[in-house]
Symmetry: C2
């Protein structure tokens, strides 16, 4: 067995694992999309689908973990190839967590459909979620194509998601101050907004891993955290 054989065997294994990552990514994108639609249309059956599909996402992560361990043990990849495999593990872990957030979002859909409706909120959440879904697709494409420029683009776009979240947070606070009946629905909507914001952070993690894989260094301003709510003092006057 010569080096070329070992190398191409590793390449085949790697391609198989990357295909699994894309499959997992596809399931997660679908979960985000369906959770968002179910939120807007109060479609509890669709929400159930998202909740049930999460097991497949978890299972895929488990398979990718095992396959990666098998490839490392069997092929004993050198530094660069090993880095790819370790990146795969990190991407899979992030995808699994995004799936969890989509599931949590879907769970809240059913609750929300039975509460006072808050004007325009679900449309804003849909825009946020749609952007995160697109970022996820680009981050995974950037991984497959080893394209650090595309990955850096994803990092920049996460700031838009954070801005959308901060605007929504303020809006929800206003609604709550206006009428105590809005408190429960706004808290639920805020949970969902926060879930989407975190999904954006996790996509950012994936994009950072791609940048690291391709360039060997993490982006300078790795993970700019733009949830400004920890810096809010009095968003709106405290007494009314």
């Amino acid at each position: 067995m010569n080096d070329e054989h070992i190398s191409s065997a590793f390449d085949r294994d790697l391609e198989a694992i990357q295909a699994e990552i894309l499959k997992m990514g596809g399931l997660v994108e679908e979960a985000i999309m369906k959770a968002t639609v179910s939120l807007e249309t109060h479609d509890s059956e669709l929400a159930d689908e998202v909740c049930n599909a999460d097991a497949s996402i978890d299972l895929l992560e488990e398979q990718i973990n095992q396959e990666a361990a098998r490839v490392i043990a069997l092929r004993q990849p050198a530094a660069v190839d090993l880095r790819v495999i370790l990146t795969v593990l990190k991407i899979a872990a992030n995808l699994e967590r995004i799936g969890d957030y989509a599931k949590n979002m879907a769970k809240r859909t059913r609750v929300l459909s039975q509460l006072t409706q808050i004007n325009g909120a679900t449309a804003s959440l849909r825009r946020m979620a749609r952007e995160v879904e697109r970022m996820l697709r680009d981050a995974l494409n950037a991984f497959i194509m080893r394209d650090s420029i595309m990955a850096n683009g994803v990092l920049v776009r996460d700031q838009d998601v954070d801005q959308m979240y901060n605007a929504l947070f303020r809006e929800f606070l206003t609604f709550m101050m206006e009428d105590p009946r809005n408190i429960t629905p706004c808290i639920q909507l805020h949970f969902i907004a926060k879930n989407i914001e975190r999904m954006g952070d996790l996509v950012t993690n994936i994009a950072e891993q791609v940048v690291y894989l391709v360039t060997g260094t993490l982006p300078d301003d790795a993970r700019p955290k733009m949830d400004l709510t920890s810096m809010e003092l009095e968003v709106i006057p405290q007494s009314k």
Copy 2:
């Protein structure tokens, strides 16, 4: 070089990495503890310490990642040893995230000290955080001692943390309904409670990894998710 030499070289490397994990765990425990104290005593200097120390935690994770990759490439460990190294990577990733939550908690301390105080809230948060800190210590000890029974004990205790969170969530809702001036501080306190609840989930992840490492299978009821807020309908009457 015979097998024994390779094996003991691997063991030395592994011990060094495990020492790094314990060091990282110690820093994270300290961050949780300091963030909690700063919350209760409105000590913004202590909160700053927590925020500044997070960089050391991130750096340690980075070092552990690199060291693990080096050991895999150099020692080419067999299946069981490889599993230990991959577990180390997962534990480090979870510790890093717990550190992020402690930092976020500390950030909110400064904001909270300037808002209306909510009776008894910080004491409840302290109890939650203290429990998570203890669970973390036990989960890491369980890892070092390869003790799946101890790790399983941590999984059970996370349900207490979830129950404390659910009780606090209801309490905050009541305060918000009572007086709109409570909305902003309660939202901040709720963020902190949610952060601690998530820290508990991350400690649970670590304990699950230990169970998996020792027994080869994940706990049956892996990660029971007990944040009931996604199932809340009307915690308290919607109109007052």
